[in-house]
Amino acid sequence: MSATYVWTVIVAMAVINFLVRYPPIAILSRVALPQWLRRWLSYIPVAVMATLVTGEVLRPGGTWLPPLTNPYVWAAVGTGVVYWRFRSFLGASLAGVAFFLALRAALG
């Protein structure tokens, strides 16, 4: 892997990362958004998180796993229950990794 290749990717990713993050904040924070748009935006966090979880657990690393014996799916269910019960972000994340290790060992 040549140094030029790696640095090209890093710099391009850095520039694009900033370009997708900054303009929406800079522009939209200066205007009063209409009620319907604010409502639409209020649904975005939960929609994105549901999408990320679904994508990451059903097709981890780009490979589909059979749903019933997929340790990611069941570990995510356990993680969600722990967060819902204890409201601890760190506790739920650690419990999730522990669930995952146990399930991966059990399910092969």
């Binding site: 990713m13 994105v48 690393g61």
Partner: protein, 214 residues
């Protein structure tokens, strides 16, 4: 949520995993750390590594990570009503440090009325430090750490996303949005190439929820 310290503890191992993987693919420790420091992109960085390892061109790598990172347009828009009193430099720094986790924590803090520009800057700085520090340690000590998959690190990101998802489910309407988004995600994963579902599913789910009668 304690200024993002839980994020720091979550990012350290994932950053280390990124450092180890990058080093194993031929990144120098400096390149791995610079990647995390400048192009803070979580999942996008792992996707970039996978593609680079399979010999993709630089353009293909950047295009794929851009698709995954388009969700930050939505995040920025959702945060923007809270940032009308922050100066442009502050907005730029907040934008630079915006990740899924810092976004969710800041939105949650705003809902409780406990967020301001300083608390958001703190969340961003702490998360960035965890991610970059973890990457440096991973890249420098990859020989000692071994295969990060042994420690279950690949579930650390999904675990954080899951906790953040439950944290966002504040009303029945939000639970409904999450269920719709999950169903659309499955459909779009089967229909769309690459990771376009990351953009398509949330936009359609939020739109459906906004137009459905209450």
């Amino acid at each position: 949520m304690g200024l993002g310290f839980p994020i720091l503890l979550g990012y350290l191992p994932i950053g280390m995993a990124f450092g180890v993987l990058a080093e194993s693919l031929g990144f120098t420790p400096l390149q791995a750390t610079a990647c995390s420091a400048l192009a803070l992109a979580g999942a996008g960085q792992f996707i970039a590594l996978a593609l680079m390892g399979s010999g993709a061109t630089a353009i293909a790598v950047v295009a794929a990570t851009t698709v995954v990172n388009l969700r930050y347009v939505l995040f920025g828009a959702a945060l923007s009503p809270h940032l009308d009193r922050v100066r442009p430099v502050g907005q730029a720094l907040l934008a630079f440090s915006l990740t899924d986790e810092t976004f969710a924590v800041n939105i949650d803090d705003h809902r409780r009325g406990s967020a301001d520009a300083w608390s958001m800057a703190g969340v961003g700085a702490i998360a960035w430090a965890g991610w970059v520090g973890g990457t440096a340690v991973g890249a420098l000590a990859s020989g000692l750490i071994g295969d990060p998959a042994r420690w279950g690190v690949q579930f650390a990101m999904p675990a954080m996303f899951t906790a953040l998802l439950v944290a966002q489910a504040e009303s029945r309407r939000h639970v409904l949005v999450g269920v719709i988004a999950a169903a659309l995600t499955l459909g779009f994963m089967l229909l769309l190439p690459g990771r376009w579902y990351v953009v398509a599913a949330p936009i359609l789910a939020a739109t459906l929820a906004a137009v459905l009668p209450r």
